[in-house]
């Protein structure tokens, strides 16, 4: 499968809703310093629950809400699309939710997988909510599904700005510990 769309709403430097379509293969993202390129990568980490606020350069979760708009929430939705040769997407792993879906539900066919994360500022503090295919989910359920594709907090498929320098400067002990964790 591949990412076919990212919708970024009021997150970091994206005031208002931005829809970015993506295609298979090799896409580059470019532009001036401070324009928002890394923030697009952050939106992926945020939505799929792959990091803490610190690795998105925010001191606390609510710092991720756009400063300019007056709104008190932000949201990112990522849609994955199944490739032709692939077996059905793991919506089947949602257990009885798929069993419960009707035969005409396109998601039972497993062509797309959609993950949404929203944070809201409330009087009792920040509230974080996850949705998978439109239904309220826990982070654990999302990690289960994505984990089967090796998309998880411990995986190396997202290399943030400066990570290469981190690998360069790593001590031999730290480098070996990486292998421990894979083993």
């Amino acid at each position: 499968m591949h990412i076919c769309e990212i919708v970024i709403d009021n997150f970091k430097s994206f005031s208002g809703k931005t829809v970015i379509p993506f295609e298979k293969g090799f896409t580059t993202i470019s532009g001036p310093n401070g324009s928002g390129k890394s923030n697009i990568i952050d939106s992926i980490l945020f939505c799929l629950g792959l990091s803490t606020s610190r690795t998105m350069r925010a001191e606390k979760l609510t710092d991720l809400i756009n400063h300019h708009s007056q709104r008190k929430s932000c949201e990112v939705t990522i849609t994955f699309q199944r490739d032709e040769h692939e077996a059905a997407l793991p919506v089947g792993f949602l257990g009885d939710r798929v069993e419960g879906a009707s035969d005409s539900d396109p998601l039972t066919e497993g062509t797309t997988l959609q993950v949404t994360r929203k944070i809201k500022v409330t009087s009792s503090g920040p509230q974080s909510q996850y949705l998978m295919n439109g239904r309220s989910s826990t982070l654990t359920e999302i990690h289960d599904v994505l984990g089967r594709y090796h998309v998880s907090p411990g995986s190396f498929n997202v290399m943030m700005q400066g990570d290469v320098q981190g690998f360069v400067n790593m001590s031999p002990m730290e480098r070996r510990k990486i292998i421990d964790e894979i083993a």
Binding site: T18, I44, F156, P172, R175
Partner: protein, 164 residues
């Protein structure tokens, strides 16, 4: 436990050797400081760029260090293949020739059903991608996204000011 470490080590070492040969035109491999006692050992990356002596990564030039570390990261990725890869400015230290080599590797890998989203300011990387998403800043620090499909357009526009 020691056996499962050994298994993972050998697999990653194997990937690293293959990837390094393509990327850096030389030989590289992983080394344990204490092969008898791997779980208390340090691990370093050894490489010999063409024509030079075998060196540990700490002694290499800035660009050589980046390239060697990238080969290591790609080797780790191959043990857990994912549907997409996002790389944010991993080509910073590299000269033009090495950016080309890295971009060629991404082209190859992306043809094997993996999606690559690569943030880069470097022309040889952008030229080899299938499309570029342009990101700019509107007044007030608001991000504005445009899709740029025609590579020639991108390369001639504000992206034409660089050297390797």
């Amino acid at each position: 436990k020691k056996a499962s470490f050994r298994k993972a080590f050998d697999e990653i070492d194997g990937h690293f050797r293959t990837i390094f040969e393509t990327l850096a035109d030389g030989d590289g491999h992983l080394t344990l400081s204490n092969p008898e006692d791997p779980l208390n050992s340090g691990m370093t990356l050894m490489a010999r760029p063409r024509g030079k002596k075998m060196q540990r990564i700490e002694a290499m030039s800035g660009g050589e260090k980046s390239l060697t570390s990238l080969a290591f990261v790609f080797a780790l990725q191959r043990t857990m293949p994912a549907p997409f890869y996002a790389l944010d400015e991993v080509d910073m230290n590299l000269d033009g020739i090495n950016v080309e080599k890295l971009a060629n590797m991404v082209v190859q890998e992306s043809q094997k059903a993996s999606q690559f989203l690569v943030v880069s300011l470097r022309k040889p990387m952008i030229e080899r991608s299938q499309r570029t998403i342009g990101v700019t800043q509107k007044p007030g620090g608001k991000t504005h996204v445009t899709g740029i499909r025609i590579r020639a357009e991108v390369v001639n526009h504000h992206l034409a000011d660089e050297i390797d």
